[in-house]
């Protein structure tokens, strides 16, 4: 689990809710926030438009083997003569799919657990928080290894195992928000009007509790991308798609002769993770009233 995401969660939980609407705009006006949002948008754009942007098929043998970067092959080629730029572009799509899938699972599970735990309190809260702690100490990377060993590799399984284990931080932030919100006037008002508790949770509390949790999501997803890359590097990614980690793993055999095979996929991962961290930091800083 990311050390700084952990700290940001503590900070966020201590922030009074309200007046957060314009904060996102303020966050992306800081230098870090601006670089972050531009990088993340570029990554998303490349991932979505990969078929249009990639000059070649990433699996097709196009040029000479192990050619250094040139005008025809800006990032060079691998040992089979496949274009590395195309590989990196398609790799963006793979990491984007994993990130998006995990993000959805994390938001759904995290807010469900956080809402229930914070609103019901009592033994429900105790039980849910205990399991949150248990999930938090699970080594996700090794659990993913076990799942791949038992069930075979595949993006769907990867998304599932990383999503099902990455929500604790979000749950804790949502829970803290709910605790702060549930005795506020607008919630009391809804209760007095006879709203059912799940209506109060979903319509009154959730929309207010979600923004700080979403801000953390960037930091959580950044860690997920690093895990996905590590698995790809170990040769455990989905064999049917190109991924940044798998490309870097090919580089390992040709380090002496082809530095570009290592550098470009690695830099792509670094940029995506850096962008997400910068964006996440900027938004959490703005939300918690720092700077």
């Amino acid at each position: 689990m990311s050390a700084t995401a952990e700290l940001a969660a503590v900070r966020l939980a201590a922030t009074p809710p309200g007046r957060r609407a314009r904060l996102f705009a303020r966050a992306i006006r800081t230098p870090g926030g601006l670089v972050g949002i531009v990088t993340v948008l570029a990554w998303i754009l490349v991932g979505v438009a990969a078929p249009l942007l990639a000059p070649y098929d990433p699996f097709a043998i196009e040029g000479p083997a192990l050619a250094a970067p040139s005008a025809a092959y800006p990032f060079g080629t691998d040992d089979l003569g496949r274009d590395l730029l195309s590989g990196v572009i398609w790799g963006a799509r793979t990491s984007l799919i994993v990130a998006a899938g995990v993000a959805v699972l994390v938001v759904v599970i995290g807010s469900a657990v956080g809402l229930l735990s914070g609103y019901r309190g009592g033994w429900v809260d105790d039980a849910l928080m205990r399991s949150t702690e248990a999930f938090q100490v699970l080594p996700r990377f090794f659990l993913a290894l076990v799942v791949i060993a038992f069930f075979g590799p595949g993006l769907d399984k990867l998304v599932l195992v990383l999503g099902v284990t990455s929500w604790p931080l979000l749950a804790r932030v949502v829970r803290a928000e709910v605790l702060a919100l549930r005795s506020r006037e607008f919630v009391e008002a809804a209760r007095v009007q006879g709203a059912t508790w799940n209506r109060i949770l979903l319509r009154e509390i959730l929309p207010n509790a979600l923004p700080p949790a979403i801000a953390l999501l960037g930091l959580v997803v950044a860690q997920v991308i690093l895990i996905e890359a590590s698995l790809g590097f170990l040769g455990l990614g989905d064999p049917n798609v190109t991924s940044w980690g798998a490309l870097a793993s090919e580089a390992q055999r040709f380090l002496r002769v082809a530095w570009w095979l290592s550098l470009f996929p690695g830099l792509a991962i670094l940029l995506a993770v850096l962008g997400l961290n910068l964006l996440g930091d900027a938004v959490t800083d703005a939300l918690s009233g720092r700077r």
Partner: protein, 321 residues
């Protein structure tokens, strides 16, 4: 430290460890096909499968299987690797020292260097050393560990020739004595550095923020007003509380470091658990993978326990909560 806090915290370890065991058990049974394949690996023969079926009581009810399984694991029996023809605990035990050496070196280095860098940056706030440190740590924090490892090999080992490229010892190096220690240390330098760098960045960022928060407090202003030297203000008055956030994340960092070590070992040909895991994955030798998972998970639980106890020792408020 109050005994009640220690006991209560110790008691929390039991359900967590039980949950990890049950999770391992569930995965064995959720895996497609016969659970005997998950327990014995894909390459066994009928006779061996019958033996495993008997040993784990696979023909009995699920709860009694769970009891058998948990009993075996608690006794340190993690099953047998059919591919290697040896107990999993023995195979892991052989590889463990190399990984322990690598991760503990990285843990010590990253804690010491990270705190140093954090203090350096915080005491030069908003000036160029601080900005440089912030940008560097941000970048390191985002860099995948294999990129750092490969770049280190490219620049420091292949280009400059300062460090060996692969392995733990030279083939013709001395096998014992101080020469052997130096040989291993020489091989350890790059992998440990690659593994430590992301953690250095994390610790540096945490201790910088912690120290900045602390230096803004009233008791620091008082100390300065009384003429205490800036060095003593930082090191004696501010640093202890400033480092609390660094202690909080120690337990989490252990899990993170071991995961990183697996990758680093593959990059540098370090003969630890990483190579073992990759081979086991290729051979579909599931018992080894599950064994390593259980070992790492329990290690992280214990590391978190120790972290909390250290934290309670440093910050009395926690003990009485």
């Amino acid at each position: 430290m109050t005994r009640r806090y220690v006991l209560r915290r110790l008691a929390q370890v039991i359900p967590t460890t039980a949950a990890i065991l049950v999770l391992g058990f569930l995965l064995i049974h959720l895996a497609p096909g016969d659970p005997v394949l998950a327990l014995a690996g894909q390459n066994g023969d009928a006779e061996y499968y019958a033996f495993v079926r008997e040993k784990f009581g696979l023909d009995e009810s699920l709860p009694s299987q769970l009891a058998t399984y948990a009993g075996n694991v608690v006794r340190g029996d993690l099953g047998t690797s059919y591919v290697q023809g040896r107990p999993v605990s023995q195979v892991i035990g052989e590889r463990l020292p190399a990984t322990l050496l690598l991760t503990s070196t990285a843990l010590v280095v990253s804690t010491a260097v990270g705190i140093g860098v954090g203090v350096f940056a915080a005491t030069r706030r908003r000036r160029w050393p601080d900005v440089t440190v912030s940008l560097t740590t941000l970048t390191l924090y985002a860099a995948p560990v294999f990129l750092l490892g490969q770049l280190a090999i490219l620049l420091l080992a292949l280009r400059l020739g300062w460090f060996p490229v692969q392995g733990m010892t030279d083939a013709d190096g001395p096998a014992t004595g101080i020469g052997h220690v130096l040989d291993v240390a020489h091989h350890l330098a790059l992998p440990a550095l690659a593994l430590a760098s992301q953690e250095i960045a994390a610790v540096a960022r945490l201790s910088r923020i912690g120290l900045l928060d602390e230096l803004a407090r009233d008791h620091i202003r008082t100390a300065r007003a009384k003429g205490v030297s800036e060095r003593a203000v930082v090191l004696r008055h501010a640093l202890r509380r400033a480092l609390l956030p660094v202690v909080t994340v120690l337990g989490g960092r252990v899990g993170h470091l071991v995961a990183g070590a697996i990758v680093v070992e593959v990059v540098f040909g370090w003969p630890g658990l990483g190579r073992l895991l990759v081979t086991a994955m290729q051979n579909r030798d599931a018992p080894i993978v599950l064994g390593v998972f259980l070992l790492v998970a329990v290690t992280v639980v214990v590391a978190n326990l120790l972290t909390d106890l250290v934290y309670a020792f440093l910050d009395p408020r926690v003990r009485y909560r």
